[in-house]
């Protein structure tokens, strides 16, 4: 890779990676770890992303937002490809993403490590910090979140489910 290509790739990565998740506007697709690869060549830019959930309805909006962001950054010819392997995990989120989610009132997922999905129900209240919370529904406002309520401060809150 030439120095010019490397610099162009870095710029394209920065532009694509800054796209906000349409359903969780406080985090970017780079924060979430769903941006997998960015390649710049003579034909333009190829961006590779992976879905959080197979049926995630935000994918089309994310693809469109990536193309728009790259066009604005000087890359009008951008293709967005989708890969499944390796399957996305909440462990792919950056530490910054967890902090941003918590600051926005969404309890971040616990690290899950390898193996089967742990169905732990404990989530700390993002508002008052109490661990005394209960699940209202395992499926919240989007596929990736569960709805909880804090028994200490009585506020309901979203919890990003470990996956």
């Amino acid at each position: 890779m030439t120095a010019a290509t490397a610099a162009a790739t870095q710029r394209a990565w920065a532009a694509a990676g800054a796209v906000a998740d349409p359903e969780l506007r406080v985090v970017t697709i780079a924060d979430l770890g769903i941006l997998r690869h960015v390649a710049v060549d003579a034909d333009g830019v190829t961006v590779t992303i992976t879905p959080t959930y197979t049926g995630c309805p935000a994918m089309d909006a994310i693809r469109a937002d990536i193309r728009r962001a790259l066009a604005a950054a000087g890359y009008p010819r951008a293709r967005v490809e989708t890969v499944l392997d390796p399957a996305w995990s909440t462990d792919d989120m950056t530490a910054a993403a967890r902090d941003k989610l918590a600051a926005a009132g969404v309890a971040p997922p616990a690290a899950r490590g390898a193996g089967p999905v742990p169905l732990t129900l404990a989530a700390r209240c993002p508002r008052c910090g109490s661990p005394d919370t209960e699940v209202l529904s395992r499926f919240g406002s989007t596929a990736c979140k569960a709805l909880h309520r804090c028994r200490a401060c009585a506020e309901p809150f979203d919890h990003f489910k470990p996956l």
């Binding site: 879905p51 399957a87 499926f139 406002s141």
Partner: protein, 258 residues
């Protein structure tokens, strides 16, 4: 990958997910609580996501590997194949879903019991497929297995709550288990073209389901009548009505997009 029968195998798995998504969607705004509406819609969305991946893969299986199917060839107009052509342009005889998934919904106990019986099969199915010697299918399964684990958990929670609840909820849950049980046998019938034998999933399924039924104080029905035919395109009349509703827009306006 183009094993003989792969196309039909992918249709079987994809159609199970697609028909399940459509049935769950019917319950939107009819659940006991708004949270449950959202939960069932989210589960439907996961199943739809799995269906899209599986049918997209099926659409790319080379024509030469397409076997003669009971339901006859796909309409010429449906070519070239893609996920939409497979979902919206096939007739009932060309669907390969298990009968369990197409039965019309009764009450809420019926909804969550069916989901339990199906998810308890999909969890070991996708677990095994994730390690299969077919990279594309393995990648799909590695993704979907994490989602169906939540479906199973959700359904099991409800079945326990209804079974071990009031006399009314117990009676309804037992009636749902009794009504659906015969249709579970088809899930484990031989299915050509896939990397695993469905019969080998039965022990896992049985362990999961009997444990939940026991906690729910529900009786495991005796095995007897075992209706089948869905994998060969021989369905109940209920699928035809479901497809009529699901496909009407696409058939009236071919290629329609949002």
């Amino acid at each position: 990958m183009s094993r003989p029968g792969l196309f039909d195998y992918l249709l079987a798995l994809g159609d199970d997910a697609l028909v399940t998504a459509q049935r769950l969607g019917e319950w939107y705004a009819s659940s006991p609580a708004m949270e449950e509406d959202i939960a069932l819609a989210n589960i439907a969305l996961d199943q739809l996501g799995a269906a899209r991946l599986l049918l997209s893969y099926a659409a790319e299986v080379p024509d030469t590997a397409l076997p003669a199917r009971t339901g006859g060839p796909l309409p010429v107009a449906a070519r070239p194949l893609d996920e939409d052509a497979l979902a919206y342009r096939r007739d009932d005889r060309q669907f390969r879903n298990a009968l369990l998934t197409e039965l019309p919904h009764g009450d809420f106990a019926h909804v969550v019991t069916r989901l339990l019986l199906l998810a308890a099969y999909q969890v070991p199915l996708y677990d095994r497929l994730a390690a299969a010697d077919d990279p594309r299918l393995a990648a799909i399964a590695a993704k979907t297995r994490k989602e169906v684990a939540y479906h199973l958990d959700h359904a099991a929670t409800w079945v326990r709550r209804l079974g071990d609840g009031t006399a009314e909820s117990h009676g309804r849950a037992q009636a749902a288990v009794d009504a659906l049980w015969p249709y579970t046998h088809e899930l484990f019938a031989p299915l050509a073209g896939g990397p695993i034998d469905p019969a080998t999933l039965r022990a896992d399924w049985e362990r999961t389901v009997t444990a939940v039924l026991a906690e729910a104080t529900l009786a495991r029905p005796a095995d007897g009548w075992a209706p089948g035919g869905g994998r060969d395109g021989l369905h109940t009349e209920h699928l035809s009505y479901l497809l009529a509703e699901m496909q009407s827009l696409h058939r009236a306006h071919p290629g329609a997009r949002w």
